[in-house]
Symmetry: C2
Subunit: 210 residues, 2 copies
DNA sequence: CCTGTGCAGTAACAATGGTTACAGAAGTAT
DNA sequence: ATACTTCTGTAACCATTGTTACTGCACAGG
């Protein structure tokens, strides 16, 4: 655990802070598909992601889903921080997109470290910053892009975070993430295949030239 | 200025912090329609809103606009904080929706006060929290609602922040804010009028029963 | 009073995306 | 092998939203 932590955060946090994190944090290893946070949950800790990818989703009252963004190693969940600080329910769902390792830090420490460690302060503010911008990008794509562009963006982003140009998803999976319908996604994917940008298979998609 | 500041922030910030704000902050009074921040601006200070309403907009490369949310008295702009801290360009535009009074605080103070004053810390984190949730709501409405619902929400929200059940906007204004077209908005407004929810006039709309 | 400008109403049409329905292919279990 | 389930392909159709075009009205300025 210390090994992992140092590898990921050693260059930005000083020794003393790392040690504190190790002392109070709880290590967690979760498999792909594991649900870390459900909408409405009260959160007891703040997650520091060490490896893997976490997918952050929004869902409305009718059960319609929408992918907000991915967390990658070195990221934390600003939403979670916001929830913890405000002591309110989670507005989002978090699912492990791949196997993942993370450390949960009790929320009380957050404020203490904010005062004590400048790097921690920077880390926290930077997280908020990054997440706000991430949300803005998501908003842009929904507000200003058409479904075909959003689909291309989705495939690219997913390939990037998983570091794999084979997308292991069904058309239905993609439809959920983009809040569309399976038929629409199949239609658009077929067009992309005809354009030579991807190759379709059962249960996976090979990216050629997006 | 001190009067205004105390009235708005006196109950959450202690005397000493108020005094510091007065010392280093610059008071600003702007008229309706004044552009406070343009996309791409580098920001030198963080605004504390004392009175009035500020409208925060997003715009894409093609010049398509979208209203994100309103800032009201007692609010600050998390986006601005994020930009200042990260020393990056503004991602949004800020326009005074009504005449407004605000205090600009140099960004260097922000970190200093974060360490020194607990209420300031709470204020800053709470602002991020509120803003993240505001963005999520905006995202919800775009992703999950149809235009007629969005329009009703828009009218309600605008009436709330301006504290006026007469909306002083043309159909074109509304179309810009909702990133739609004038014809579509006119069509939907007419329907709302037929349902007896609003009364249409030239240059303004009277809300009856939304 | 006349005229120009901006605002609103409306019709016709296009484009995008969502829905329903069905067929066949691929994989799984018996 | 057979039956069952899941995934994909495709067609036909519908709903919503956006676009173009034209109308008349209101108001301001001469």
């Amino acid at each position: 655990m210390i090994q992992d932590l140092k590898e990921q955060y050693g260059n930005i946090f000083e020794e003393e802070l790392i040690n504190e994190i190790v002392q109070v944090g709880t290590f967690k290893e979760v498999p792909e598909g594991y649900k870390l946070i459900e909408i409405g949950d009260y959160l007891r800790g703040m997650p520091l992601l060490i490896s893997g990818v976490i997918k952050i989703l929004r869902e409305d009252d009718d059960g319609d889903e929408l992918l907000l963004y991915y967390l990658e190693k070195g990221d934390t969940c600003s939403m979670t921080m916001a929830c913890c600080m405000g002591d309110t329910k989670s507005e989002i769902r978090a699912i492990a997109e791949t196997d993942a390792k993370l450390i949960m830090v009790p929320i009380q420490k957050m404020e203490e470290w904010t005062i004590k460690y400048k790097p921690w302060r920077n880390f926290v503010f930077n997280s908020y910053h990054v997440r706000l911008n991430e949300l803005l990008s998501t908003l842009d794509s929904i507000a200003f892009q058409k479904m075909d562009e959003r689909l291309i963006g989705y495939l690219k982003e997913k390939a990037r975070v998983t570091n794999d140009d084979i997308i292991h998803s069904t058309h239905q999976d993609i439809a959920y993430d983009l809040h569309s319908s399976r038929v629409v996604i199949s239609r658009l994917l077929k067009k992309l295949e005809e354009m030579g940008k991807i190759k379709l298979h059962r249960n996976f998609i090979k990216i050629l030239d997006l």
